[in-house]
Structures are given as structure tokens and as C-alpha cells.
């Protein structure tokens, strides 16, 4: 049997660990965030106020947090994975009672110093908990439905809370990220078939429980022209902004759609539209390329890790990151319904940025501790 690892790897010195951090990823994140600053500067009509300056501060905090997380021993994260999950779940539940709403949804909790969106924390916490659970899985376990009950509860708990909030976008994102971790952990493919069938069967029932505006958004997504001044307005204006940006855009600070306020929420959910309006196809594809490299590094780091917890954690974080950007960009281009998912590292918003950077901190941590092994039974010393 496999034994707890030799101690040499876990005793890397601080500077050795620092050296082991994947600085290319850090650089890519800085570059992405800088694009965000520029766009927020533009969204503020050529001013650092009110968004760009505050976002820069947050990025500074996030960057240090990310590096600290990266340097923390991987075992720490393994040990406290469930505890973190539990805290996130409690926060999420607390939103039900103590939260306050923004734009018709209860999403925020006030911790006195900062306002927190527990949903963003949960995205990372869920990946941590699932990675820990599947770390110990063996092929026989993965064929047993009973074995999957606990991780399924891990996923459905927060998802149901999110639906109740109601935040359909985050709920779907949680479910999707969880599903991908299941898949990577080696859960049998036929089980996905069963799950898919059950889900499809549940669609009509779920539809019944959706809020009016959620139904409307989905219907509008299916036929955006049906309501050009109502719910379809945002998407139509977003497409106009994107399309009129053409190949090279209208120029920095020159986006008519964004600066004349035809574009809604240009500093948050629709910031990609603004980028594509002012910098055109070139700008949009440029950002996609940056994201692609970040994702590629995520996959690479995960593949190189030696223990299953680290691999699942790395991939889970990468997939979550991907879901953020895909849902957001897909939404503003009219490929997906309008759901409140920010563009990672770009959109204005504290918790979302922190969550993404915590996620990347964990990914970097996986990279730093790529040779660390954790026994299948866990941390038995």
C-alpha cells in the first residue's frame, strides 16, 4: 500500500516555494486584470472613479491572498476542505435570513467590514470538498451509487440554496462544476446518462418553480426580437454594441453604445461587450487568448500533480474559471440566457474577483506542491 509521502517535499523552504510558484500564471492574471482596469476606467467615462481605482485595490488584496494561499501547505487545504465547505454553506444559508438584495435577488451578506457574496466562495469550497471526497475513491466505489450520495448532497445543498435566492446562473454553474469534478474523478459514464435523463425529466417541474422574470429571460433568450424594449433590450443593445465594434473597434473611450448608456451594467456583466465595442474583434479575441493560456496552464498544472486531490482541485478551479467566462461571454453575445455571471478578473465586483483569485491561489498551490502525495486514506500521521 501506498504510504504517506516522504517528508522531503513537504519541507520546502519559503523561498523554494516562492520559486516554485508559476509566475507565468500570475503574470497572465495581472495582464487580464489590467484589461479590466482599462475597461472600468472607460466605463467611468475616462475616470478611475468610481470603479477602476477600487478594483485595483481589490486586485492588490486578491494578489497577496492568492500568493499566501499558494504558499500554504496543500495538506492544510486537504484537512480543512470540509470545514471550509461547511462555513461557505452556513454563509449561504445565512443570506436567506440576513442577506440583502440587489437587482431583485438576495445575494449579499454584510459582514460588517465587507459585503460578501457567499455564492462566489461556495464555488471554490465545493470544488475543495469534492476533490477531497474523490481523492479517496477507488474504481469499485465509483461504480456504486450509494458512494455517490454524499458528494451529490455536497452539490445539491448549495445549488438548492442558490435557486432559492434566486440565482439561477450560479446554481447552474455550481451544478456544472460539480458534474465536471464527478466526471474527472472517474464516475462511470452510464451514471451521467442516468443523471441527464433524470434532469431532463425534471425540466418541466423546475420550470414550474421558476420566477416570472427567470422564465421571461429564458423565453427572451429563445426569441430575443419578441420584446425589444423589455427583457430583450439588454441583449439586443449588447449585440448592437458588439457588432458595431467590428474588426478593430471604435477606440478606447469611444464606444457610443456604452458611453451613451444604451449598454446596461457595462461595468459588471456586460463589460465584455464594452471591450469588444471599443477594441473590436481584435480586442475580444485577444482576451479570449489570454483566457485560453490561463486555462491551458490550469490543465497543465493539474496534470502534473501527483495526488488525486491536487489534480481534482486544480481542474475543478480551472473548470469553474472557464464556466465563468464562457457563460458571461456567451450571454452578452446572445448565445445564452441573461444570467448574472461576471466576467472573471474583468468585471467590477469584489467577491467575484477574490473568489477567482482564491481559486487561482489554490491552483498555484497545487503547482507548488505538485510532487506532494497524500495517502488515499488521508492524513494519517
Amino acid at each position: 500500500m501506498f504510504k504517506p509521502m516522504d517528508s522531503a517535499e513537504s519541507e520546502l523552504s519559503f523561498f523554494e516555494k516562492l520559486w516554485q510558484i508559476n509566475w507565468v500564471v500570475v503574470l497572465l492574471l495581472c495582464a487580464t486584470a489590467s484589461i479590466g482596469f482599462a475597461m472600468l476606467y472607460s466605463a467611468g467615462n475616462g475616470s478611475f472613479d468610481p470603479w477602476a481605482s477600487r478594483q485595483m485595490v481589490r486586485f492588490g488584496i486578491g494578489l497577496s491572498m492568492m500568493l499566501v494561499i499558494a504558499l500554504v501547505d496543500l495538506k492544510f487545504w486537504y484537512r480543512y476542505a470540509y470545514a471550509i465547505y461547511l462555513v461557505a454553506l452556513l454563509l449561504l444559508a445565512a443570506v436567506e435570513f440576513a442577506g440583502f438584495g440587489a437587482m431583485g435577488a438576495q445575494r449579499w451578506i454584510n459582514l460588517g467590514v465587507i459585503q460578501l457574496q457567499p455564492a462566489e466562495i461556495m464555488k471554490i469550497a465545493l470544488v475543495l470538498a469534492l476533490a477531497r471526497y474523490f481523492h479517496a475513491a477507488n474504481p469499485i466505489d465509483l461504480g456504486r451509487i450509494l458512494y455517490l450520495v454524499f458528494p451529490l448532497l455536497l452539490v445539491t445543498g448549495p445549488t438548492v440554496l442558490m435557486v432559492r435566492q434566486p440565482d439561477l446562473g450560479t446554481a447552474l454553474m455550481l451544478a456544472a462544476a460539480g458534474g465536471v469534478v464527478f466526471f474527472l474523478a472517474g464516475v462511470r459514464l452510464w451514471m451521467f446518462g442516468v443523471a441527464l435523463t433524470v434532469l431532463l425529466a425534471a425540466v418541466p417541474v423546475a420550470w414550474h418553480f421558476l420566477h416570472g422574470y427567470q422564465k421571461k429571460r429564458i423565453l427572451t433568450f429563445l426569441d430575443p426580437g419578441s420584446d425589444p424594449l423589455g427583457a430583450g433590450y439588454h441583449i439586443l443593445q449588447s449585440k448592437i454594441a458588439l457588432g458595431s465594434g467590428a474588426l478593430f473597434g471604435k477606440g478606447f473611450l469611444q464606444g457610443t453604445q456604452s458611453h451613451l448608456n444604451f449598454l446596461p451594467e457595462k461595468q459588471t456583466d456586460f463589460i465584455f461587450t464594452m471591450l469588444a465595442e471599443e477594441f473590436g474583434l481584435a480586442g475580444g479575441l485577444g482576451l479570449l487568448v489570454l483566457y485560453f493560456f490561463l486555462l491551458a496552464y490550469g490543465v497543465g498544472i493539474s496534470l502534473r500533480a501527483r495526488c488525486q486531490f491536487a489534480r481534482l482541485l486544480g481542474m475543478g478551479v480551472t473548470v469553474t474559471f472557464f464556466l465563468y467566462l464562457f457563460i458571461n461571454i456567451g450571454m452578452v453575445m446572445g448565445l445564452l440566457p441573461v444570467v448574472g455571471v461576471p466576467l472573471p478578473m474583468i468585471s467590477y465586483g469584489g467577491t467575484a474577483m477574490l473568489a477567482v483569485m482564491i481559486g487561482f491561489g489554490l491552483l498555484l498551490c497545487v503547482g507548488v506542491h505538485r510532487d506532494m502525495r497524500i495517502g488515499r486514506r488521508g492524513l494519517i500521521e
Binding site: N138, Q237, L242, G243, L260, N261, L288, L303, Q308, F322
Partner: protein, 619 residues
């Protein structure tokens, strides 16, 4: 160890699958970007411009209306309005209170402003009051620093200097109603006014002009960011009328106390020099919006001030119709000029007795006498012999029974009955007795004052089919070329016309004429004409025996209409006039003096009236 490496292999395979899937989805995003930003870029670029650029209409100044000598009948007056822009609705109360310290703001205005502020977007100015005088403007301007968001705006409003004196001809302007919207964006401008009656309505499009446009950049909520370009419009064209302001004023004031209508026209050109209808209304009142009470008062007035009686009032012509009957008889060879009839005050026909207005009769009269003394019996006899259809044919030649096509709205056609008409409309055969009644201009016959004026003009201008007009239409040159003298002729013989005119001369100037009381001694200014008294109620046989009640003794609405048609000067007639006084009583006593005064005035105003200007529209 083996299971571990298996697991790693499985993880690697599945990671590759996930990564591949991600790449595929990223490609979808890229493809979508290409589709939006390259393939459909042009379309979206257009849409973005449409979003951003707003066309604002610049309303053109409305054309003025002038009289025949270029004097102003309708103008645009500067209208100072005070506007208020309130960024927050709850600040409106205090802003209004501040403004109320300097100008009077009525309770109604106050409520309306608060309502509009609540409804409109915060940057859209709301009109607080219109038509400020210069003192109020000055007071606001001086205190401008204390009145944030309050601005003075100069608009244009229509003003009619002659007030109610020419109201029916000029008409009035007022806000566009729902039914009048025809897709022209100009009509949808708030505060835009269009002609609702009279010349303002008929020539609305010319007077209106074309709107200029201003391209402005707006943001999503419609606030103007800046002006991009401006294109001037075409101001409305001025229109000059055939009216003579002095004569119009005189005529309208002369009949101001009656419910009456007057038309004065040039017998050669057809120019209408005055056209008045009373009671009238003040067209300026419509500009700022009439109150419901005022409107109801206008609509419910029994003397119908909103109706232009000169063209829309239909009255039995009474004895003024007798010239037509005489001409019909002469031209059809039914009667000779010398023929006489003995009038004993009654005419027996069938089982009926037809009375002359003069109870004991006129004795033996010839045609000239019959016109001068307005002998009914003579014309009963004449009408019976000519027949209704030939009378109607002659009436038609003189402009009765059909619309004359004057360029004013609401002209009515009157009625000239024929046998066929009665069969078709009433389904009953024509009774011979009805011909007799029609012979003295009663019964079914209906005419408008304008028709009577035209009839008179055609009687005295040598039998030419002159057409009335209120403007000199641009096409008139072509028209007159097309309609040569031959086409203009009514085909009535000179001798017959002369005979009838002698009768009309005698009405006023003859020793036994019905209107000899109003004759003008000065030969140069003397006039001729014909009185008419149109019976409104039926006089029963019993009343005849006990004595017909005098007009003063019956209620206003059943009294006789007083009519007079006339012309001047006697020798070479230039002006024709028709006067109808509703329920005024006898034509000679009531209508004739009015006609005399106006005919004197028109000659006094311009003894050598210059030929009308050929150009109708002054710029």
C-alpha cells in the same frame, strides 16, 4: 499502485476530454464574435447610429395671412413661456413656490405642472405658463439666480389682429387631434397647431411649410448630448386674400348685433371683398386652448357663432329669387316683357288660394313693376307657366342649387328642386302648387348668402359666369385662358338681363319700389337690388282673416328672415352684395339698410379700385 496509475490514466483521458470540450466552446465564442463583428458588422453599425442619433424636428414658422392690400390678418406672435426642469420630482413643489413669488401661477396650472413632472423624464422641461407679458419675463430674468431650472422660452403663437371680425374666413389653429395624425412627424410635435377651419384649414399645408431637422446625439434615456448637424426647413408661405380688411371690418361691425351674414364681391373678378357672419367668435381664444365652458357656450348658442352662415347657412331666397323666375320665363319665350298681370292680392290655383304679400293687391303690373313692387301674384302666374324644371335650369346658371367651389371649408350647396329631385328624394310626384311657391323663392328652394351674391353678380355683369374666390389662386392665369369670354357667358340675352336690372333699379330708386326708403340720392353712388322676406312659419287661413301677426309679436326663432341682394354703382355695376338677417323681419326694413351702408362704404373706400394683383401668394 496499479489502481493509482489506472486512476491517473483515467484522469488524464477525461481531462483531455474536458480540455477539448473547453476549446470547442471557446471556438464557438470566437465564431460568434466573428459572426457579430465581421459578418453582421454593417447592420449593427447602422443600428448603433440609429440608437445614438436622433432627428429633432424644427417646426417652421406658419405663413401669414394678408388682405388684398397686404395688411395682416393672421400673424405669428412671440409667445414667452416659462419652463421648468426639475431633476427630482420632490423638488417640484418648492421650485413652483419659488416661481410663484414672481409670477402668478393658478391652482390649475400648479396641479398640471406637478402631474407632468411626475410623468415626464426629469430633464424634459415642463411648461408652467404661456403668454407671459414683458414685466413677468423681466421679473423672472432678474431673479434667475434664485430660480434654478427655470427658463424662459420664446415660442410662436398665432394671432389674429382683427379678432372676431374675420374669424369665419380665417378660421383658427389648434392642437392636432388623434384623427388628424397622418404619419407626418411634424404633427406629433408637442404644441404643434394646425388650421381647423377657414383659410387656415384650406391652405394649411401651404401655410405650414416644411420642417427643418436637427441631428442630435442622445443617450439611452433621450437626453441630448450635442447637436451634430442642422438642416433648415421651409417656412410656411404667406397667403393673401381677396378680402379688404377695412370693408370686412365695416361689414362685420354693421351686422354685429344681428344673427346675419354678408357677402360682398367684385362682379367682374369674383373676388370676395368681405364675407362676414355673426355672431362671431374670437379665433385667438382657440390658440391657448378653449375652456370646456367657453366651448359649450359656443356650441350651444342658438345663433351658432361657429358656423359661417355666409357659406353654410341655407335660407329660402324669398323674393330675391324672382329675377331668376323672370329670366326663365323671358328666355323660354313664355312671357314677353310687355305682358301684364292683374293682382288683386290672391291667386286661385287648383283648390288653393295663393296670397300676395300685399293684401289688397298691386293692380295691373308688368314685369318691371312686379320686380320693383315684388308682386307675388305676377310671379305665381309666371312660375306656373314656366314650370319648375325650367326655373331650376335658369337658377343653376346663376349659381344656385350647387356648390360654387369657393376655397373655404363647409360650403353648402343649397337646394333647387326639380320634378325628378322630388320623385327621387321624397318619392312623391311634384305638385303644381309647389311650382307657385317656388316662384316666390319659398318652399323647397334654399340658397346660401354666397350663392345670392354670385347670382346678383351674374345678373349685373352682363351674364358672365363669374366664380367667387377668397384667394387669387395660382392657376387663375391658365384658367382664364382656358375659359374665354364665350365659355364664361351664361347664354342669357342682353335684353332680358337689362329688363330684370331695370326692375332691380326700380326696387330702390323707382317710385313704388319696396326699398325706396333706403335709396341713395347721390347718383354716382346709387345702387339697385331686390328685397326678400323668407317666411319661416306657416301662416294659417284663420290668421290671415284675423290679421297676420307682426314679426315683433312672435318668438325670435319663427320670425321671417330678412334678405337683400344689391349692386352698385347703378350704371356700371362693380360690386354685388347679399345680406341675410336671420329672423330679422322684412327685407326692406332690416336687410336693405345694411346693404346700402356697406355698398356706400365699399365705394367710398376705393372709388377707383385698382385691378387685382395677378400674383396670389406673396413671399
Amino acid at each position: 499502485m496499479r489502481s493509482d496509475s489506472d486512476r491517473y490514466k483515467s484522469f488524464t483521458r477525461r481531462t483531455a476530454a474536458v480540455a477539448g470540450f473547453k476549446i470547442a466552446l471557446l471556438s464557438v465564442l470566437g465564431a460568434r464574435m466573428y459572426q457579430l463583428q465581421v459578418v453582421q458588422a454593417d447592420r449593427y453599425a447602422t443600428l448603433a447610429e440609429e440608437n445614438r442619433i436622433n432627428l429633432r424636428l424644427l417646426p417652421p414658422p406658419r405663413g401669414r395671412i394678408l388682405d388684398r392690400r397686404g395688411r395682416l390678418l393672421a400673424v405669428n406672435r412671440q409667445n414667452y413661456r416659462v419652463l421648468m426642469t426639475v431633476e427630482r420630482a420632490d423638488a417640484a413643489e418648492s421650485a413652483l413656490a419659488a416661481l410663484a413669488r414672481f409670477i402668478f401661477i393658478g391652482d390649475g396650472d400648479r396641479k398640471r405642472v406637478l402631474r407632468e413632472i411626475g410623468r415626464k423624464r426629469s430633464f424634459v422641461p415642463v411648461t408652467v405658463r404661456e403668454n407671459l407679458d414683458w414685466r413677468e419675463v423681466a421679473r423672472i430674468e432678474v431673479n434667475a439666480p434664485d430660480l434654478p431650472g427655470v427658463t424662459i422660452d420664446v415660442g410662436r403663437s398665432r394671432f389674429y389682429p382683427s379678432n372676431e371680425l374675420a374669424a369665419h374666413v380665417l378660421g383658427y389653429v389648434s392642437a392636432v387631434s388623434e384623427e388628424e395624425l397622418n404619419g407626418d412627424p411634424l404633427l406629433e410635435l408637442p404644441g404643434f397647431k394646425i388650421g381647423k377651419s377657414g383659410v387656415e384649414k384650406v391652405y394649411d399645408e401651404l401655410l405650414r411649410g416644411t420642417a427643418g431637422t436637427s441631428q442630435v446625439e442622445v443617450n439611452a434615456i433621450g437626453r441630448i448630448i450635442r447637436e451634430l448637424s442642422r438642416q433648415g426647413g421651409e417656412p410656411g408661405r404667406d397667403i393673401s386674400l381677396t378680402l379688404d380688411l377695412d370693408l370686412q371690418t365695416f361689414a362685420a361691425e354693421r351686422i354685429a348685433d344681428e344673427s346675419a351674414a354678408v357677402v360682398v364681391m367684385d362682379v367682374q373678378t369674383g373676388d370676395v371683398l368681405a364675407i362676414a357672419s355673426t355672431p362671431s367668435f374670437d379665433p385667438n381664444a382657440f390658440n391657448s386652448g378653449l375652456s370646456t365652458a367657453d366651448w359649450n357656450a359656443l356650441v350651444n348658442n342658438a345663433r351658432s357663432p361657429l358656423t359661417n352662415k355666409a357659406i353654410a347657412g341655407q335660407y329660402a331666397p324669398g323674393s330675391t329669387f324672382k329675377m331668376i323666375v323672370a329670366l326663365a320665363a323671358l328666355e323660354n319665350g313664355v312671357a314677353s316683357p310687355e305682358q301684364t298681370v292683374f293682382c288683386n292680392g290672391k291667386y286661385e290655383f287648383g283648390d288653393g288660394t295663393f296670397h300676395c304679400w300685399k293684401r289688397w293687391g298691386h293692380g295691373r303690373v308688368d314685369m318691371v313693376d312686379a320686380i320693383a313692387e315684388s308682386c307675388d301674384v305676377f310671379f305665381y302666374d309666371l312660375a306656373r307657366r314656366v314650370g319648375i324644371d325650367r326655373i331650376a335650369e335658369m337658377a343653376g346658371r346663376f349659381g344656385l342649387g350647387h356648390s360654387l367651389g369657393i376655397d373655404l371649408p363647409g360650403e353648402r350647396s343649397g337646394l333647387m328642386p326639380t320634378k325628378a329631385w322630388k320623385q327621387a328624394v321624397q318619392g312623391v310626384a311634384w305638385q303644381s302648387g309647389e311650382t307657385l311657391v317656388a316662384g316666390i323663392g319659398q318652399g323647397f328652394v334654399l340658397t346660401t348668402p354666397l350663392q345670392l351674391a354670385v347670382m346678383t353678380a351674374r345678373l349685373v355683369n352682363g351674364g358672365r359666369a363669374v366664380v367667387p374666390r377668397i384667394t387669387h389662386r395660382e392657376a387663375s392665369v391658365e384658367e382664364s385662358a382656358e375659359f374665354g369670354e364665350a365659355e364664361m357667358s351664361l347664354g342669357v340675352s342682353e335684353a332680358s338681363l337689362r329688363l330684370v336690372r331695370r326692375g332691380m333699379d326700380d326696387v330702390v330708386n323707382g317710385p313704388t319700389g319696396t326699398a325706396r326708403g333706403v335709396r341713395v340720392e347721390d347718383e354716382a353712388l346709387a345702387f339697385g337690388g331686390k328685397t326678400g322676406t323668407a317666411q319661416v312659419r306657416r301662416i294659417s287661413e284663420r290668421e290671415r282673416q284675423t290679421g297676420v301677426r307682426k314679426n315683433e309679436d312672435v318668438p325670435w326663432h319663427v320670425r321671417d328672415h330678412a334678405l337683400f341682394v344689391g349692386y352698385a354703382p347703378l350704371a356700371e355695376p362693380r360690386y354685388a352684395i347679399a345680406v341675410v338677417v336671420e329672423h330679422g323681419g322684412g327685407g326692406s326694413a332690416v336687410a336693405a339698410p345694411i346693404a346700402r351702408d356697406i355698398l356706400l362704404e365699399v365705394q367710398r373706400l376705393d372709388p377707383a379700385r385698382s385691378a387685382p394683383q395677378p400674383l396670389a401668394f406673396l413671399r
